[in-house]
C-alpha cells in the first residue's frame, strides 16, 4: 500500500499554539489515526507545564517541565513547527500562513493560542526590568534582572501574582506585592480568608500593599524605580513584575472575522466551535458563555470535547460531546501557605448561609457556604489548612447531603468529625478534575487489571495534572483493592507461598540445608528460576556452603554456576577482586598477560577493577588457574553479593584526606566478600568530605571526618539514583564495622528478592529511625545474633574459583559438550578498536545448523 497516498487522503488538522491545552488536544486527537495533525507553535519550545512554572526557580529545568518531546510527536505521527507564529487565516481557502510565509491547508483548524499577561497602562511600564510572568523565556528574563536587583515588586495580588512573588523571593529579592483591591486573591477567597493570607505571607517576609493603584513608574532614589500610588505614597524597587490578570490571545480571530466577545475572547459554542464551524477555539483564548476559564482543567475538558466532535465520537445515545462549564475549585500552596477555594467561595448564591472557623494563633481560616436548607454545600474557603479540601469538594460536586451540623466539617474536633469515606462517593464523582477522571474510571481501570496505585494513575492519568488529587486517587484505589480482598501477594512464585524473608526464617529456624528439603516440606512442584536462586542465596547466607556443592549446583543462576557473568553471546566475563582498587604493577601485568593470551576484551570498570570479556566456558578454568597462581581471587561480579568497595587514596597520599580510607576500604572489602544477599552490594569509602569515592551513592557509604567516620545507608546509582541516608556520625573503626555487620545481616535476613538496600530501606516500616533503633539501640534484641551470623560468614569465606579448580567433578561442567571436544562454533568475534567484540548476526560465518526451522533452509542451500 502506498503510504504517501494514505497520508494525502487523511483529513488535515492544524493546531495553532502548543501550550498545555493545545498539547492535550493533540494527545486526544492523535488517538484517532484518520487525521494528519500539524502543530504550529509561536514559542521556541514544545508544550511545557505552566502550572508548575515557579519550580523552574526551584531547580527544575525546561526539560523537567516539558510535557512532550519531538520524538514523542514523531511517534504519534504529528508534524510540528516551533517558532512558527501564524499571522493569517484564510477561511475560504482553508489555510493558515506563518510569519515565514509558509502556508498550511486545514480541514479543521484549532486555535489554542492561550492568553497573555495584562499589563495595566501605567506610564513607565515599558522600561527595562518591567517584566511579566508567563513563559520560560519570561522566567529567564526575571532571573537575569534579579541578578542586578535588590528589591522586586509584583503588581497584582491574585493567584499568579503570589506565585510570581514567591519566585522573585526565591531569587533573593526583597519582595513586595501591590494589589489594587482591598484583599489578596479576590477571585478565589473571601475577605476573612484574604486578611489571614496577607498576614501569613507577610510573616514570610513579603510585604503586601492592598488598595493601592499605581499612577506612574518613575526613576527611583535608592532603587532603580519607584512606584507612585494614587494615595500619594511611594515604593522603591529595582524590578517590576506585572501579574494583573490575563487577556485572551484572540488577535488572529479578531483580524480574520471570527466572533469575539465584548471584552475579548473567541466566542465558542458547547462543541468549542467558533463562528466558523471548521474553526475551534479551546483553552484561555476561548470565550464560553461569556466566560474565560483561566485554569488548566477546563481547557483540557474543551480539548477533549473538540477532539471528540471532530472525530465524530458521540455518547451511547448519539449525543454530542459538550463543554458545559467547569468547576473552578482550586487547592494550592502559595509560599508554603495552603489555600483552597471551592465553588461559591463568596456566598453569592441567594439565601446561602455560611459557617466560619478562624484560629488566628495557628493561622487557620475555614469557611463553608451552604444552601438555605443547610442540605448542600455550595462553596468553601480554606487558608492555612486544606486537609478538608477533598471531602468538601466531593460534597459540593456530588451534591451529597450534608450532616445535621455542617460546621462539624471544618471544626478541629477530630473525634466528632463526620468523615466522608470514599465509599460514600458515587461512581460519577470527579476525582481528578484536571483529566476529568471519575471514581468510576478508577474502578474501571482496576477492572481492567490495574493492580496498584501507580498503574491506576498511568492508566487513567489521574493525578498527573496539578497533582492535588493524588491522596484521593490513592484512597479511592486502595479502598477498591481492599473491597476486592486484594492483598499484594508476597509469594515469591507458584512453588512457595512465602516471601524471601519468610523462607529465610524457615531455613534458619528449621535448620534446612538443601532445596529439596525445603521444597518437600514447604513447597510444591519442581521449583523454577525464581525460587531456586532465592533458596540458593538464603542457604548461602545461613550456612555459607560452597555454592557449587552437589545439592546447590542446580539452584544457581548461570552466572553463579560458571562463576562469571554471561554475556549476550554465551561467553563469560572474568573479574578478579581488586580490593579497594589497589593493585601492584606486577598483578596488573598479569591481568594484561592473561587477557592477551586468551584474547579477551579488556575494560576498566566503574567499580575500580578490570573486566575481561569473551571467555568461553572451557577457557574459564585455565584463565582462573593463571590468575589464582598470580595471587588473585574471585571478584564475585557474578553473585548477588558484595561487589566492590570504591575508595580514594585518603590521608596516606591526599593533601585533604583526614582518615586512611584506602586501608578501611580494603579491610571492608575483605571482610564482606562472598556474603550472599538479596541483591548486589556496593560500598564507597571517602577520605574526606570532598567525597571523591561517591560513597553516598552506594549501599554502604563511609565518609571520613576529623573524628572518625560518618556512615550512610541505602544509597544507589543506576536506574533510580538515591543518596544514602546519614545513619551515624563520627564512629570509630570498631563501631563502624559493628554497625555495618548488623545492618548487612539485617538486610540479608529481611530484604526481598532482588531488592537493593535503597528500596529495602524505603520500605522498612519506620524507615531510617526504625533501622537506627534496631542497629544502635537493639530494639529487637537481635544485634548479638546478627553479629554472630556475620562472624560465621566471614570465618567461612572461600574463594569459589579456588575450590572449583580443585574439584574435578565441578570442572566437568566447563566442558561445552559431553560427547565432543569441539567448541561452540556460533561464538564468533570481530575486531573493533584493536580488541574483540561479539560478531553481529550479519557478520557471522554460517558454520553449523542451529535450529529446527533453519535446518531445512540451510540444508537446501547446501
Amino acid at each position: 500500500m502506498n503510504t504517501n497516498k494514505q497520508l494525502l487522503s487523511k483529513a488535515k488538522i492544524v493546531v495553532v499554539g502548543n501550550g498545555m491545552v493545545g498539547h492535550h488536544f493533540v494527545e486526544e486527537m492523535a488517538k484517532n489515526s484518520d487525521y494528519q495533525i500539524t502543530v504550529l507553535s509561536a514559542e521556541s519550545r514544545l508544550a511545557y507545564d505552566r502550572v508548575h512554572l515557579s519550580e523552574y526557580f526551584g531547580g527544575k529545568t525546561a526539560e523537567d517541565l516539558a510535557m512532550t518531546t519531538p520524538e514523542h510527536y514523531d511517534e504519534l505521527g504529528v508534524t510540528f513547527k516551533t517558532n512558527a507564529k501564524v499571522i493569517k487565516i484564510d477561511k475560504v481557502a482553508k489555510c493558515v500562513t506563518t510569519e515565514s510565509g509558509a502556508t498550511y491547508h486545514y480541514d479543521k483548524l484549532i486555535l489554542a493560542t492561550g492568553s497573555y499577561p495584562f499589563v495595566p497602562p501605567i506610564p513607565g511600564k515599558d522600561q527595562d526590568h518591567c517584566l511579566v510572568y508567563r513563559t520560560i523565556d519570561d522566567l529567564e528574563d526575571i532571573a537575569n534582572s534579579a541578578k542586578v536587583s535588590k528589591v522586586g515588586v509584583v503588581i497584582g495580588g491574585g493567584l499568579l501574582g503570589l506565585e510570581a512573588a514567591n519566585a522573585i523571593k526565591q531569587l533573593g529579592l526583597q519582595t513586595h506585592v501591590v494589589e489594587f483591591a482591598p484583599q489578596l486573591m479576590g477571585v478565589q477567597i473571601d475577605g476573612g480568608g484574604g486578611r489571614l493570607l496577607k498576614s501569613k505571607i507577610e510573616e514570610l517576609g513579603v510585604q503586601v500593599h492592598t488598595s493601592k493603584a499605581t499612577n506612574v513608574i518613575e526613576k527611583g532614589d535608592s532603587c532603580r524605580y519607584k512606584l507612585c500610588f494614587n494615595d500619594g505614597s511611594e515604593l522603591e524597587t529595582d524590578l517590576i513584575l506585572f501579574s494583573a490578570g490575563i487577556r485572551p490571545y484572540d488577535n488572529l480571530a479578531r483580524e480574520f472575522d471570527l466572533a469575539i466577545g465584548e471584552r475579548g475572547g473567541i466566542v465558542v459554542n458547547n462543541q468549542c466551535q467558533t463562528s466558523d464551524v471548521d474553526i475551534y477555539a479551546i483553552g484561555e483564548c476561548a470565550l464560553w458563555n461569556n466566560f474565560i476559564f483561566g485554569l488548566v482543567a477546563p481547557g483540557y475538558a474543551m480539548a477533549k470535547v473538540a477532539a471528540k466532535h471532530i472525530g465524530g465520537v458521540t455518547g451511547t445515545n448519539g449525543e454530542l460531546a459538550e463543554f458545559t462549564g467547569a468547576d473552578m475549585s482550586t487547592k494550592l500552596k502559595l509560599m508554603g501557605v495552603e489555600v483552597g477555594s471551592i465553588g461559591d467561595a463568596h456566598g453569592k448564591t441567594e439565601g446561602s448561609l455560611t459557617y466560619t472557623y478562624e484560629n488566628q494563633p495557628e493561622g487557620v481560616y475555614k469557611k463553608i457556604v451552604v444552601s438555605s436548607d443547610k442540605k448542600t454545600l455550595l462553596g468553601a474557603v480554606l487558608i492555612g489548612d486544606t486537609s478538608d479540601y477533598d471531602t468538601l469538594l466531593q460534597y459540593m460536586l456530588n451534591a451529597i447531603e450534608l450532616p445535621e451540623a455542617p460546621e462539624g466539617l471544618i471544626l478541629p474536633m477530630a473525634a466528632d468529625k463526620p468523615t466522608l469515606g470514599v465509599d460514600a462517593l458515587p461512581d460519577t464523582a470527579t476525582i481528578c478534575s484536571c483529566h476529568n477522571v471519575t471514581k468510576g474510571d478508577i474502578i474501571a481501570a482496576i477492572d481492567c487489571g490495574a493492580v496498584d496505585v501507580g498503574q491506576v494513575k498511568s492508566d487513567t492519568k489521574a493525578g498527573s495534572g496539578c497533582g492535588g488529587c493524588a491522596a484521593l486517587v490513592k484512597s479511592v484505589a486502595d479502598n477498591e483493592f481492599e473491597k476486592r480482598g486484594l492483598v499484594v501477594k508476597k509469594d515469591i512464585c507458584e512453588h512457595f507461598a512465602y516471601s524471601r524473608k519468610e523462607l529465610f526464617d524457615i531455613v534458619s529456624v528449621e535448620k534446612i540445608k538443601t532445596f529439596d528439603e525445603l521444597l518437600s516440606s514447604h513447597g510444591r512442584g519442581l521449583g523454577c528460576e525464581i525460587c531456586k536462586p532465592v533458596a540458593a542465596s538464603v542457604l548461602a547466607s545461613v550456612w555459607n556452603d560452597y555454592i557449587l556443592k552437589k545439592p546447590h549446583l542446580s539452584l544457581q543462576d548461570t552466572n553463579d554456576t560458571y562463576l562469571g557473568n554471561m554475556q549476550k553471546d554465551g561467553t563469560y566475563s572474568v573479574v578478579p577482586r581488586i580490593a579497594g582498587g589497589e593493585i601492584t604493577p606486577d598483578k596488573l601485568i598479569v591481568l594484561g598477560q592473561v587477557a592477551k593470551k586468551y584474547n579477551l576484551y579488556t575494560k576498566i570498570t566503574g567499580g575500580a577493577r578490570v573486566d575481561l570479556f569473551g571467555a568461553r566456558v572451557e577457557q574459564l578454568p585455565p584463565i582462573w588457574q593463571e590468575l589464582i597462581d598470580a595471587g588473585f581471587e574471585t571478584g564475585h561480579a557474578y553473585g548477588k553479593s558484595l561487589r566492590t568497595v570504591k575508595s580514594c587514596v585518603g590521608s596516606t597520599w591526599c593533601r585533604y584526606g583526614v582518615q586512611d580510607s584506602m586501608s578501611m576500604a580494603i579491610d571492608l572489602e575483605h571482610r564482606y566478600k562472598g556474603l550472599r544477599a538479596p541483591h548486589k552490594i556496593k560500598f564507597g569509602v571517602s577520605g574526606c568530605t570532598r567525597e571523591c569515592a561517591e560513597a553516598q551513592g552506594k549501599d554502604i557509604g563511609i565518609i571520613a571526618t576529623e573524628n572518625g567516620w560518618n556512615l550512610f545507608v541505602g544509597g544507589n546509582g543506576g536506574m533510580k539514583p538515591r543518596h544514602g541516608d546519614l545513619f551515624a556520625t563520627d564512629l570509630d573503626d570498631e563501631t563502624l564495622v559493628k554497625y555495618i555487620d548488623r545492618i548487612l545481616m539485617f538486610y540479608v535476613q529481611t530484604g526481598d528478592r532482588l531488592q537493593r538496600t535503597s528500596v529495602w530501606l524505603e520500605n522498612l516500616a519506620g524507615g531510617l529511625a526504625y533501622l537506627q533503633d534496631v542497629i544502635m539501640k537493639d530494639s529487637l534484641g537481635i544485634t548479638d545474633a546478627l553479629e554472630e551470623q556475620m562472624a560465621t560468614i566471614v570465618g567461612s569465606y572461600q574463594c569459589e574459583w579456588q575450590t572449583t579448580l580443585a574439584d574435578p567433578e565441578a570442572l566437568k561442567r566447563f566442558q561445552p559438550f559431553v560427547n565432543s571436544d569441539k567448541g561452540d562454533s556460533n561464538i564468533q568475534f570481530v575486531t573493533e578498536r584493536e580488541q574483540i567484540r561479539p560478531a553481529r548476526d550479519e557478520e557471522k560465518i554460517a558454520v553449523t545448523i542451529i535450529d529446527a526451522t533453519e535446518k531445512e533452509a540451510v540444508a537446501e542451500d547446501a
Partner: protein
C-alpha cells in the same frame, strides 16, 4: 537434504554424566556432517525424568539453553533461558512467553546409557 531415513537411537554419554535437575550439552552430527547442539536435562522427580531439546535460544540467539535453570510452570516442565528468562517447555519446545519454539528430541536411558533418536 536431511537424513530422516537413517534415524536411529544413538548413545550420547553415560547416565553418570547427567547432572540432577540441571542440563548438559551434546553435539550431534549426521552423515552429511551437519552439527546440532542439544540440551539434555535430567529431572528425576518429573514424569519423563529426562528431556532433550535444541540448545539454541531463538530469542537470545546463542547456544545457551543447557545452562538455564529447570523447573515447572503450572506442572509443565520447563527450562528458563539464562539470557532473558523466557520459559521453554521441555515436552513440546514451545516458548511460554513468545511465539517461538525449539526442537524436541526423543531421548531415553538404556543400560545406563543416554540415547537420543536422530
Amino acid at each position: 537434504m536431511t537424513t530422516t531415513t537413517n534415524k536411529t537411537w544413538r548413545t550420547i554419554c553415560d547416565s553418570s554424566d547427567l547432572v540432577k535437575d540441571s542440563g548438559i550439552c551434546a553435539l550431534l552430527a549426521d552423515e552429511a556432517g551437519n552439527e546440532e547442539q542439544i540440551a539434555i536435562f535430567h529431572l528425576p522427580n518429573s514424569e519423563e525424568k529426562i528431556y532433550a531439546v535444541g540448545n539454541y535460544d531463538p530469542i537470545g540467539k546463542a547456544n545457551v539453553l543447557y545452562r538455564g535453570i529447570v523447573g515447572c510452570i503450572a506442572d509443565e516442565p520447563v527450562v528458563a533461558s539464562p539470557l532473558y528468562k523466557q520459559h521453554f517447555s521441555l515436552k513440546t519446545g514451545r516458548c511460554l512467553q513468545e511465539e517461538q519454539s525449539i526442537a524436541v528430541y526423543d531421548i531415553r536411558i538404556e543400560n545406563e546409557q543416554v540415547q537420543v533418536f536422530y
